[in-house]
């Protein structure tokens, strides 16, 4: 089981702050693909991914109980 978090525009697109997913042991790119298939309204363009609060690359493997967060372009400051 993994937890997926959404913020800002993506959270609004989905009307969801987080989802629990049954898959694990898959790369970030594959999870993105599955989410886009499940949620056609979701756009992950230009979006970074964090695993357990650290930025992750597209080929990084997501393990069971990881918390995955999608980080659209930031605009703090």
């Amino acid at each position: 089981m993994i937890t997926v978090l959404f913020f800002a525009k993506q959270q609004e697109q989905l009307g969801l702050e987080k989802v629990e997913r049954s898959e694990s042991k898959l790369p970030v790119s594959e999870l993105k693909q599955k989410l886009i298939e499940d949620y056609p309204e979701l756009s992950l363009a230009n979006t970074m991914t964090a695993i357990n609060e650290e930025y992750a690359e597209e080929d990084q493997i997501i393990n069971d109980r990881d918390v995955v967060a999608f980080i659209p372009p930031v605009s703090g400051g």
């Binding site: 525009k9 980080i71 930031v74 605009s75 703090g76 400051g77």
Partner: protein
Amino acid sequence: MEYYKITSEEIDVNQVITSVIRPEAGAINTFIGTVREFTGEKQTVSLQYEAYPSMAEKQLKRIGIEIREQWPNVQTSIVHRIGKLAISDIAVVIAVASPHRAESYEASRYAIERIKEIVPIWKKEYWTDGQEWIGDQLENTAYKNGAPKEEKE
């Protein structure tokens, strides 16, 4: 004592400044980021900051570490406010103490630029004629080298 915090409360500027005071410091540089009313033709009414607070605080800490690597004798504290803010409200305060003034300016500038690159905080602008999450309105703010690119001003 240095600190790195995301808060939904009003920021106490003095508290951020006093946190970096120490006998070795001969300069304290304070950057205060406020909510701007006009950006070109656009008139902002209010804005909303949202964050991934736990990760954002980690990234702020990381900026502090990066600063220490470049300017070893510098102390930094950073506080960013989230929630609904009005025009001229303080959104971010950075205090940098250093033995001599040059490093405090450089480190402070570095901190604000890095906040705009790597810290998961998002701003939603409410204008007189609409609203938008800033950062992706052009769909071309691509990421480079594993970190978000700077927002265009």
